[in-house]
C-alpha cells in the first residue's frame, strides 16, 4: 500500500511520530503486540488520531481496519484529544439506581458539554462508564486516578472544581 502523506492532527508532531516508530520497531516481531503498541503510542501522543493508527498498522503489517477496530473496541483508547482531567461517572446498575444519572446530568450542566466529550478549554474530558468496580460505594465517580464514592450532584461539582 502506498504511503500517503497525511496532514498531521492537532498535537501530533514529527518527533512524537518518530517515538511511535521506535515503539513499532521494538515490538514488530512480537506477535499480539498491537494493544501494547497502541497503549504506548497513546502515552506518547495523548490520543490516537488516524495518522498514528495508520502508522502503527502499516508498521506492524496489520490492516488499518484491524487497528481501528481495536482502538474503537477498548474504551481506554481515545481517538479524540483529551482534556487534562478525565472525569468518569459510573452508570453501572448500582450507581444508576443510586442516582448516577443525576450526578452526570449535574456535571454535564456544569461543564456545558454532554457526556462523552471534552470541554473546549481542554480542561476536562467527561465520560460515562459502565461500572468502575466499586458498587458498594455507589454512586461512584473518578477524576483521573482518584475515586470518589457516594457522591451527589453538588458534591460532584465541588470535586471537579479542585482539578485545574
Amino acid at each position: 500500500m502506498a504511503k500517503q502523506k497525511a496532514k498531521l492532527e492537532k498535537g501530533i508532531t514529527e518527533p512524537k511520530l518518530k517515538q511511535v516508530d521506535q515503539v513499532i520497531k521494538q515490538y514488530k516481531s512480537v506477535p499480539g503486540s498491537l494493544i501494547l503498541v497502541l497503549h504506548k503510542a497513546q502515552e506518547v501522543c495523548g490520543y490516537l488520531p488516524p495518522s498514528v493508527q495508520n502508522r502503527i498498522a502499516d508498521g506492524l503489517g496489520v490492516s488499518r481496519h484491524e487497528v481501528y477496530g481495536v482502538v474503537t473496541f477498548y474504551s481506554l483508547f481515545s481517538t479524540e484529544p483529551r482534556g487534562r482531567h478525565t472525569i468518569k461517572v459510573c452508570f453501572g446498575t448500582a450507581c444508576y439506581v443510586k442516582g448516577g444519572n443525576k450526578v452526570a446530568a449535574a456535571l454535564s450542566k456544569e461543564l456545558k458539554v454532554p457526556a462523552g466529550s471534552t470541554t473546549p478549554d481542554m480542561r476536562y474530558t467527561f465520560q460515562v462508564v459502565y461500572c468502575l468496580g466499586a458498587c458498594g460505594r455507589a454512586p461512584v465517580m473518578t477524576v483521573n486516578n482518584d475515586t470518589f464514592g457516594m457522591v451527589d450532584p453538588q458534591k460532584a461539582v465541588e470535586i471537579i472544581k479542585g482539578y485545574k
Binding site: 502506498a2 488516524p50 490492516s63 488499518r64 481496519h65 484491524e66 477496530g69 474503537t72 473496541f73 474504551s75
Partner: protein, 856 residues
Amino acid sequence: MKLTIESKKVEIEPGATILQAAEKAGVYVPTLCHDKRLKAYGSCRMCLVEVAGSRKLLTACSTPAADGMVVSVNTERLNEIRRRLLELLLVHHPLDCPVCDASGACRLQDMTFEYGVTSGDFSDKRKDIPVVTNSPMIERNMGRCIFCGKCVRVCDEVKGVRAIGYSGRGFEGSVGTAFGVPMDCEFCGNCVASCPVGALTSKPFKNKARPFFLSEETSVCSYCGTGCRLKLDYSDPEQHSFLQGKLWRTRPDDQDELTAGSFCGRGAFGYEYVHSADRLRSPYVKRGRKQEQSDWPRALDAAADGLREVASRYGSAAVAGIISSQATNEESYLLSKLMRVGLGSGMICAPAGLGELAWREAAFEILAGLPTAAAGEITAADLLLTVESDLSESHPVLGIRVLQAARYGGARLIYASARETKLSHYAASDLRIKPGSGAVLMAYLGRCLLEKVKRRGGLKGLLGLGEFTSSVRKLTAGKTARATGISVGELTDLADQLDAAKKPLLLISHLAHETQKGSDYARAAANLAYLLARLKGCDPPVVFASEFSNSRGVLDMGGDRSLYPGGNLEEVEKIWDVKVPGATGLAAAELLEKIEAGQIKALYIAGLDPATQLLGGARWGKALRKLDFLVVQDIFATEASRAAAVVLPGVSWAEKEGSYTNFSGRVGTFKPVVKPLGLARTEWQVMMGLMERFGVAANYPDLAALRCEIEKLLPGYFSGKTRNNKPGGTLMPFVTKGLVEKPGGKYRFLMLSGNSLFQLGSYSGHSAALSERMPRPVVEMSGRDAVRLKLANDDLVEVVSRRGKLRGKLKVVEGNISGVVYVPAYVPGAAAAALLPAPDSKGRAVGCAVAVRKVR
C-alpha cells in the same frame, strides 16, 4: 472414528468437527456464522450441541469430534437456547424486512421462523444506524448486522484483502473501514454473498427485486476462463406476474468444487450488461452509406448474398470468419461448419485477445498435449510457481485457491513478476524479475531440472531432448540472473525448491498479464512442465489459465488453424460428409495482414471487436474499412459493427443456451433465463439461418441435437471427459526472440497490459457497476519513476505510444520494476489494444514503448 449423532451412526476422518460429522450423517445443525471456507469461529452459538458426558454445551462448528461421542442436536433445551439467542438478536434489529434485500433469503428470518421465536421478554430501542453508502458497489446497513463476522473473515481468509474490519463495541459495534473511509478493495462481492442477513448489500441489486420472487438457474460465468459456476437469480414471467424476465443478480454456487462458493467482482457485478441500454436490438443492413434497421430474413439474405458474391468473385479463400473467445462451443462449431462447408473457406480465426501469441503456442503445445491440471491441484500442491502471472487478478477465483494454498495449505508460493501485486504479500519468495524474462527463467529452471531428471534416468521417451539440451546449454545461472534481474543465489534456491517439492505446480496464464508474452514463454512453460512431470512421476503439473470464458472451447470446436473439431480431418469429413477444404485457419496477425494485402475481401465477425480486443487494434480499425463486405454479429455496437454491411444482433449468455469450456476442459452448460432483447436472436439460430442459405444441412431442432453431433467428433466432450489427443512429451528448443518494439528515446517506458479485476472483454464496459468502478484505466508506475516524473497517486496521466494514446489515473506501486507502466486492457474508451503493435509472424512478444505525461 465413529460417533453417534441424533442416534445416527457416522464414521469420519480424525480432525473433523462435530458439524462436519453431522453433515455427513445428514443431521441438520443450525448455523449463522459458519462457512466451510473459513476457520471455525463459534460466535453465533446456534450450533451448540449436547454431548453425552459433557456438562457444557459445545459448539459443533469448532469442537473436534471424538471417537464414540454421542451428540444430540435437537433437544428441547438446545432449541430453547437457540430461541433465546435469536430473541436477543432480534431485540435491536430494525423492522426492515419490507425494504431489506435479504428478506426471503435471510438466515435470520429462516431461523426465527424455524424455531418459532415469538416476541420475548426483552425489549429495547431498535437500532437506527445510518446506512453507509460511500463505498462503490457495496452498501453497509449496520443496523441489520448480527456480527457473525463472515464478511470480515471472508475478506481476510478467503480473499486476503482485509478491506473491512470490526470497530466499536457493544451496541455501537459495526463492520466497516477504518475511520469510515470508502471501501477500496477488489469488490469481489464475496462479503455480500456471505452475509446471512441484509447488512451488506450490492448496490446494483439493492432495493430492486425481492428474493422470494426470483427463480434460480445454475449457469457459468461469461467472463474469464476459470469457468466458475454461478447461480443466476432471475424473474420468471411464468412464475409471477412479471411483465418480462430479467436477470437480477448472480450468486456463487457453494456446491461447485471449483469455486467452493466464492466469486469475483466480474462475476458478482458484471451481469448488468445483459440489460444494458446499448444493446443491439434489431438487425441492420447497409444501404448506400447508411445502416438501416431491418428484419431477420432480409438481414440474413443480405449477409449470405454478400459473402457468396465475394466468394464467387475472388474465390472462397477471400472470405474469412473470426470468432470471439466468449462465443459458446456450439456457436464456434457452427461457424467452423458454416465457413468450411457453406463457403468452402478454411479462413477461420479464433484470436485469443491480447495474449494471443502465447495462447496459440499453448493451444498446440500444452492444451492439446497435456492433461491440464484442474483447480483442485492448486490446493494439493506444496509448491506454487507463478511466472509473470497473477491469477488473483486475472482469474480471481483461481487466485483464491492460490492464496488459500499459500496461507493455510502449507504450499510455498513463488511469485516472479515485474509487478508487485497482492500475491507478493503472501508469497514465500517474491521475485521481481524484468518484464518478459519469465521465459528465460523457466528455461533456466528447465535446464537445472534436466540434469536432475537425467540423473534419475527419467528421460526415456522424451522427444526433442537433444535440441532442447543444446538450446539451453549456454543458459548459465549468471546469464539468467542478468536477464531476469534476480541474483544467482535466488535462482539456485528456486531450482532446489522445485527439486525438493513433492507436488510442485506451475501457474501461468496465457494472457498478456505481465507483458506481451511471446511464443517462447509458452514453450518454456511446457518444457518445464514436462520435465517436472518426469521428475515427480506425475502428469505435467501446470495450470494454464485461459483468458476468456471459452478461449479453450473455441479452439476445441475447430476455430483455429488445423484444429478441426476434434482435430481429425478424416473424421470430420466423415461426419460432415463433405470434402473439407485443406486451407486451415489463421492467426489474427495473418488475417490482419491478408486483409491489408487485399487477399481477404469479406469477413464474418462473430462477437468481437478487433479494434479494442486484438493486438494492433489501431491497424485493425483501418483494415476493416478496406473490406468489400463485412458482417458483424455482436450484442453491442462496436467500431466493427459501425463499419459493417450487415449487423446481426446477438444475445448475451443469459438469453441463450450454450456451453463454455474452462481452462481445465470442464464444460459448463447454461440455459436461457431471460427472453432475447428486442429482435435479437441467439447466435446459433442465426448461424443456422445462414447455413440454410448456403445449403448446408442444419437439422438441429435444439442444442441437444447439435451437441450430439459434436460428441461424435469429440467423444464425451460435454460430459466432462478431458481429451488428450497428442501423447505428451516433446521438448522444444528454447529461443529468446525478444520484443517487436523496445522502449527507448522519447518512448522510454515499456507498457504492460492485462486484465484488471473489473474490465474484461467488451461486456464489462456495459455493466454499470464495473464501469463505475473503473471508468478509466489505472496506470501503475513504480515509485522511482513516479518521483522522477514528479507524479503522484491519482494524477491524470496520458500514456502515448507510436500508435495511439490513452488517459488514466496514476497509481504508484512502490514495488514495481522501474521502466514499466502497467495499463489494464479493456477499459472502454481507453483500449490498450489501440496502443499495442500488431505481432509479427515470428512469434515475438510485441512489446510496446510508451511515454507517460501528466495531464493538466
